[in-house]
Symmetry: C2
C-alpha cells in the first residue's frame, strides 16, 4: 500500500468556537496492519457536539484529545486489509476512526455492520451513538411513564429527534424545542405534539402553555436559558436528564449555571447526567427495538451529509450554529 | 379568658434581608376553642431558614404567608383549653403555631409530646423537623453506603449537624463546611472527620484535599459558591441532596445557578431536591432510631434559645448572619 492518509490534528486548544486555526492538516502513509489489526477506509465521519468537549483540557468522562493527535471522531468504513480473524476485507465496520481517510485499529474494538454501504449513515445516527444516547438517556434516566409530558431541547438534532419519537412510542405527550421554522416543521412531521421555536418564542411562556400540568421528563441537550425555562415548569417529581449543553460549549465567559435549580427542591425533582459510553454493554437492548421501529416506520431519522474531509473545520461549526438538519456527518469517500 | 395574644404579622414582602419594617405587631384576645379545637400557650417558637422562602410570593411547596397573616412558624406549647378528645389541658404539643403567644388549632393536626417541659427544645431540633429533614434527606435521597465520603454544608446548623452524625453512624467519612472557628471546633466535638471553614479556606481546594476519591454524597443547605465547589469534586455516580440554599435566600440580584452543574454529566451524578413535609407519614421510622441514638449519646444536638417573642425580627436574622450556634428558637413563656 502506498496510499496517503490525510488527517486533521488538533493543533491548539480552542477558546470559543474552533476555527481553522486550531487544526493542522497532515498526511502520512497508511502502512500495513499488524496481528490483530485491520486497516479501515473511512467512508463517513460522524460530527457530534461532544467533540467540542474532547478538545478541552481537564478531567472529563474520557481524556482530552492531545495536542498534535488526530481529532477523535466516530465513523463508519470498510475493511481494506485485515490481520484480525473476525473481520475480512470488504466488511463494513463502525468505530472511533478519527478525522482521517484511513484508520489502523485493533479489530476487537470495532462493530461489524451487516448492511449495504448506503445504509451506513443510519449506523451513525439512529443505530449508533445518538440512538443509544436517546434510548438509554430517556428510558433509563428519564424513566417516562405513559401519559407523562416529555420535553426535549435540541429536538431536531440527532439525539433529540429520537428521544421525542421514543417518548411518543411510550405513550407520552412530547414537546420539542428547536431553532427555526424548518426544524419545528420537521418535529411535526415526525409526530411531536408541539414544537417551540426558541428563536422567536419566549420558551418559558410556551412551555407553560404546552405543559399545563408541568414537565415530567425534561431531556436537555442545550443548557443555558432553555434549561432554566424548563426548570421553571417542572411537575412534581420530575426527572431532568442532562445529556449535553451545546449552548455553553463555546462560551468564553464560563458556563451559565441554571439559576432555577431550586425548582428541584420545590418539586422534589431530580437532575441526572448520562454518558452513553456506560451503556455499550447493553447496546443490544436498544438496537433490537430501534431497528424494528425503523422498519415499521415508527422511527424516522434524517442525515445531513456534507461531502469531503477538507470541509471538516467548517462542517463542525454547523453544529454550533444550528445549521445542520439532521445527524451531521462527512462523506469521506465512496464505497 | 381575657388574655391578650401578641403576634407578629407579615406586613410587606421583603427584598433582601427582612428587617423590622416587614413586620407588624398586633394583639387580639385569645378566645375560646370550638369543637375539635385546642388553645395552645406557645412556649417555644422554632426559627428556620425555610421561613424566608415562605415570605416570598410565587409557587413553592406550600403557599406563601399572606400579607397581614400571622407569620408561619413551628412551635411547641402547652394545651390550656381543649374541646378535642385526644388532648387534655396540660398536654405538651408541637405544631405550626405561628409567631404568637397563643394559637387556636384543630387538635387533630397536632403532635402530642410525651416529655417534660425542659425537653421541648429537642422536639424542635433532633426530634422535630430538622431531625426528620436530616434523616430522610440523607438516607432516602442521598443513599450513603458504608465507606462513602459524605460532605455537608451548613454543617453546624440544626440539619447539617445531624446529617453528619447519622452519616458517621452509617460508617461514612464525614466532612463538614461551616463558617468560623467555633463552629468547626463543634464539628470535631460531635465526631466529624474534618471541618472546612468557608470564611478562611478555599472550599474547592479543601474539599479536594479532604476527599481524594471525590464526594459520594453532598448534602447542600447553602447553595452558591459552596455548591459549585462541591460539584467540582464529585465522585462517579454521586448524589447531591438539595435541602436548602441559605446563601441565596436574601439575594436581591437573583439566585446564582451552579455553573459546575455539568459535573453531573461528567460523573453520571444526580442532584435531587427534598422537602421534609413529604415524610410526615413516615416520621416514626426516623424518630425511633433517633431517640435511641440521643439516649446512647451517639447523636448530640444543641439549641440556641433566645428569650422573648419581641426579639423575633432580629433573632430571625441570626440565621442568615450565621450567628446562631445550634438550633435557633425563641422562648416565649415559661411552663
Amino acid at each position: 500500500m502506498s496510499t496517503v492518509n490525510h488527517q486533521f490534528r488538533l493543533a491548539a486548544r480552542p477558546v470559543g468556537l474552533p476555527d481553522r486555526s486550531v487544526w493542522s492538516q497532515t498526511e502520512e502513509p497508511i502502512g500495513e496492519p499488524k496481528d490483530g489489526e485491520v486497516l479501515v477506509k473511512v467512508l463517513y465521519i460522524s460530527l457530534d457536539p461532544a467533540m467540542r468537549g474532547w478538545m478541552n483540557d481537564g478531567k472529563s468522562y474520557i481524556p482530552p484529545v492531545a495536542i498534535g493527535a488526530v481529532m477523535r471522531a466516530l465513523g463508519a468504513g470498510k475493511v481494506i486489509a485485515s490481520k484480525f480473524g473476525g473481520l475480512a476485507v470488504g466488511d463494513y465496520v463502525g468505530g472511533m476512526f478519527g478525522v482521517q481517510e484511513y484508520s489502523m485499529a485493533p479489530g476487537k474494538g470495532l462493530n461489524k455492520i451487516d448492511a449495504p454501504a448506503d445504509k451506513l449513515p443510519v449506523y451513525l445516527s439512529a443505530l449508533g451513538m445518538p440512538g443509544l444516547t436517546a434510548y438509554f438517556g430517556l428510558l433509563d434516566v428519564g424513566k417516562p411513564e405513559a401519559g407523562n409530558t416529555v420535553v426535549v431541547s435540541g429536538a431536531a438534532g440527532s439525539v433529540g429527534s429520537i428521544v421525542g419519537q421514543i417518548a411518543k412510542i411510550k405513550g407520552c405527550a412530547v414537546i420539542g424545542i428547536a431553532g427555526g421554522a424548518e426544524k419545528c416543521k420537521y418535529l411535526a412531521e415526525i409526530g411531536f405534539d408541539a414544537a417551540i421555536d426558541y428563536k422567536t418564542e419566549n420558551v418559558f411562556e410556551s412551555l407553560r402553555r404546552h405543559c399545563p400540568k408541568g414537565i415530567d421528563v425534561y431531556f436537555d441537550n442545550v443548557g443555558g436559558d432553555t434549561l432554566d425555562a424548563a426548570l421553571a415548569n417542572l411537575a412534581l417529581r420530575a426527572r431532568v436528564v442532562i445529556c449535553g449543553a451545546i449552548s455553553q460549549y463555546n462560551s468564553t465567559t464560563g458556563v451559565k449555571g441554571p439559576s432555577n435549580y431550586l425548582s428541584l427542591l420545590v418539586n422534589r425533582a431530580r437532575m441526572e447526567g448520562m454518558v452513553v459510553l456506560d451503556y455499550m454493554a447493553r447496546a443490544g437492548e436498544a438496537l433490537v427495538p430501534m431497528s424494528q421501529w425503523l422498519k415499521e416506520g415508527k422511527l424516522k431519522t434524517r442525515e445531513h451529509i456534507v461531502d469531503g474531509i477538507n470541509t471538516f473545520p467548517e462542517t463542525l461549526l454547523m453544529l454550533f450554529n444550528g445549521q445542520n438538519q439532521g445527524k451531521l456527518m462527512i462523506k469521506v469517500a465512496g464505497d
